[in-house]
């Protein structure tokens, strides 16, 4: 599978995750969201940006709890819950948001 981003054709795996993570740019997220019929708000971007920062340092997506805590700090305590993250990313913050952010899919019993 491929997606078209700014005139470039980028390979993805069967589930739509970027094959080469270094090809990520912000418009990758926008294009992936369009495919899912989802429009990215500033709050969506807070999640994506945090995921990318965390991944940069730890080479893995953060635990759901780490993510909710960070988002709670940035957007207010009422938004620091996995319920809110599921409102933003109905397919699951760990999976859908990771995909948009150009992170590998979390594997295992999650």
């Amino acid at each position: 599978m491929t997606i078209e981003v700014n005139g470039k054709s980028l390979d993805t795996d069967e589930e739509g995750y970027l094959a080469d993570l270094s090809q990520w740019e912000p418009d990758v997220a926008t294009v992936m969201a369009e495919i899912d019929e989802c429009e990215l708000s500033d709050n969506h971007w807070e999640v994506i940006n945090f995921l990318r920062e965390y991944y940069e340092e730890y080479q893995i997506a953060p635990a759901v709890r780490v993510l909710t805590k960070a988002i709670g700090k940035k957007l207010g305590k009422d938004k620091g819950s996995s319920k809110y993250l599921y409102e933003l990313y109905p397919y699951g913050p760990a999976k859908q948001a990771c995909k948009y952010a150009g992170l590998p899919k979390p594997t295992g019993c999650v």
């Binding site: 069967e14 589930e15 899912d36 019929e37 989802c38 730890y58 080479q59 893995i60 953060p62 635990a63 759901v64 709890r65 780490v66 805590k69 996995s82 319920k83 599921y86 109905p90 397919y91 699951g92 760990a94 999976k95 590998p104 979390p106 594997t107 295992g108 019993c109 999650v110």
Partner: protein
């Protein structure tokens, strides 16, 4: 917004009825095939090999000699049909190839063709068939529609262990180059990094530190989450989902609080940061052993006296039933404790000895039922008495919670229904199967909910917890109605702030 599911969700009615037979209803369902890198990391060829038929048939023959049970299971089915309506995937899909007898016959007919006298000479008379590409495709589809839960085996008059047949078929497929992506990618990560998630040591340390801060903030108690502490008494081996996902992580907090309050010194290992052992699911003894050996290596390296398993269903099967033969002897551990021990046993013992106290009123906002996980229920035990795996978790829950109600008797205990995502099927590419397979459990939950207004279902398996988080909403429940047993324990534990 999310797209609506592209399949019909079965209705969880007033009772479980045997569905009309719908041939081919799930013939489109199959998981992604493992890529070259995933296959090679676990010792299998990267893609379907040219002489796959020959190799598959030879492998089947080898396996029936090596695992004599497998040959008995392939030889002894009399097609009585007792298993047909016992499988959650058949009940949820109506596909006749999901009747356990029919699913296992996909392998059995090939075994009969090449390894029995009648099948060699009179194949048509005895239902023997050549191994063709079509048969291989059927294997790939339908052996990934069995969660190896062994409910059908409970009702089989011959005691045929159908999970063994599914495991054997999966190993044959991986051997000829057609493995499953989800399982094989994960096993490769355990070999390389130490856990299913691929969670590196630095991230694990960061997550555990974060939990220490959270518990201190929430409870005012400095509960530690130690990592790689040499000389600790207890090595906790727990599914990596406990470090990552919800509601799992609240269970991990519960274990830590129990250890803290009981004054036990414990540690997690970054080398064996995974209890799950997907080698079981793909039927690979070699992979299962390689994963299990990490636990031994960590126990020796850290010099611990006990090994305790966290809440993980199939890990407890591997731990309780196979660990000693896979990675033993464990004569270097304290012989006063079982090797390994389940966290439920630890908590239960501490409660019996009065070393920890629970205040069940802390959970008075909850009305709880318990989902028996299949590998705990049908493939292991807890405590010293038969059936302890059913009694101990319930006693722990009742000590932590005043409002406990069981689901209907033929859906719990050894008759428990699989969550729908076990046995290496907890992957998004099988979401339709997972949702449909959850129907029998959802039916029983709905029933107990109507009678007792249940707010939460507790479980002791990482797969069950993730699966229910995902499928509960399809049946009108909330995703956070599934919780860890040790979340209830952690919330009810009377903490000594002086400790």
């Amino acid at each position: 917004m999310a797209k609506a599911p592209e399949f019909d969700v079965p209705e969880a009615g007033d009772y479980i009825f045997t569905p009309p037979v719908l041939p081919g209803a799930m013939s489109h369902s199959q998981p992604f095939v493992a890529k070259e890198a995933h296959q090679e990391a676990v010792g299998y060829p990267g893609e379907l090999i040219d002489n796959w038929q020959e190799v598959a048939i030879e492998k089947l023959g080898e396996m029936t000699k090596k695992y004599r049970g497998l040959q008995v299971y392939l030889d002894s089915c009399v097609k009585c049909g007792a298993c047909t309506d016992k499988c959650h995937y058949f009940l949820g899909t109506g596909d006749p190839k999901n009747m356990p007898v029919a699913r296992q016959d996909l392998l059995r007919k090939v075994y009969r063709r090449y390894y029995t006298l009648a099948g060699k000479y009179l194949p048509k008379l005895v239902g023997a068939e050549d191994l063709t590409e079509e048969v291989l495709d059927d294997w790939y589809k339908y052996y990934h529609q069995c969660s190896q839960c062994r409910r059908c085996s409970v009702y089989c008059p011959y005691g045929i262990d159908t999970a063994e047949v599914s495991m054997a078929a999966r190993e044959i497929m991986a051997t000829v180059g057609k493995g499953q992506k989800y399982c094989n990618e994960i096993i490769g990560k355990v070999h390389k990094i130490g856990n299913n998630l691929g969670l590196p040591e630095k991230a694990l340390a960061n997550t555990l530190e974060g939990l220490e801060e959270d518990v201190l903030e929430d409870d005012g108690v400095a509960v530690k989450f130690p990592l790689d502490v040499k000389g600790a008494d207890v090595l906790l081996v727990t599914p990596s989902a406990d470090f990552f996902a919800e509601p799992h992580i609240d269970g991990l907090i519960g274990y830590a609080k129990v250890f803290h309050q009981a004054g036990l010194s414990w540690t997690v290992s970054s080398h064996a940061s995974e209890a799950a052992n997907f080698g079981l699911f793909i039927g690979s003894y070699e992979n299962m052993q390689k994963v299990a050996l990490r636990i031994r290596e960590a126990a020796l390296e850290l010099g611990v006296k006990r090994i305790v398993f966290g809440e993980c269903g199939h890990a407890w099967r591997v731990g309780y039933s196979f660990l000693n033969t896979l990675a033993g002897p464990f004569d270097f551990l304290d012989s006063n404790y079982p090797v390994p021990q389940h966290i439920i046993e630890v908590t239960h013992d501490l409660l019996s000895q009065g070393r920890i106290k629970l205040d069940p009123e802390a959970n008075d906002d909850k009305r709880v039922t318990f989902h028996d996980s299949c590998n705990v229920a049908r493939a292991s035990r807890m405590g010293s008495k038969a059936g302890g795996q059913f009694v101990l978790p319930r006693e722990v829950i009742k000590a932590a919670c005043n409002n406990f109600f069981d689901m209907r008797a033929d859906t719990i205990g050894e008759a428990t229904f699989c969550c729908g995502g076990g046995g290496g099927l907890l992957t998004d590419d099988l979401i339709e199967l997972r949702t449909k397979g959850a129907m029998p459990r959802m039916q029983a939950l709905k029933e107990v909910n109507e009678q007792h207004q249940i707010t939460h279902m507790a479980a002791i398996c990482a797969i069950c917890k993730s699966q229910f988080s995902k499928v509960l909403p399809y049946y009108g429940f909330e995703m956070d109605q599934i919780i860890s047993v040790h979340q209830l324990v952690g919330d009810a534990l009377v903490m000594d702030t002086e400790h």
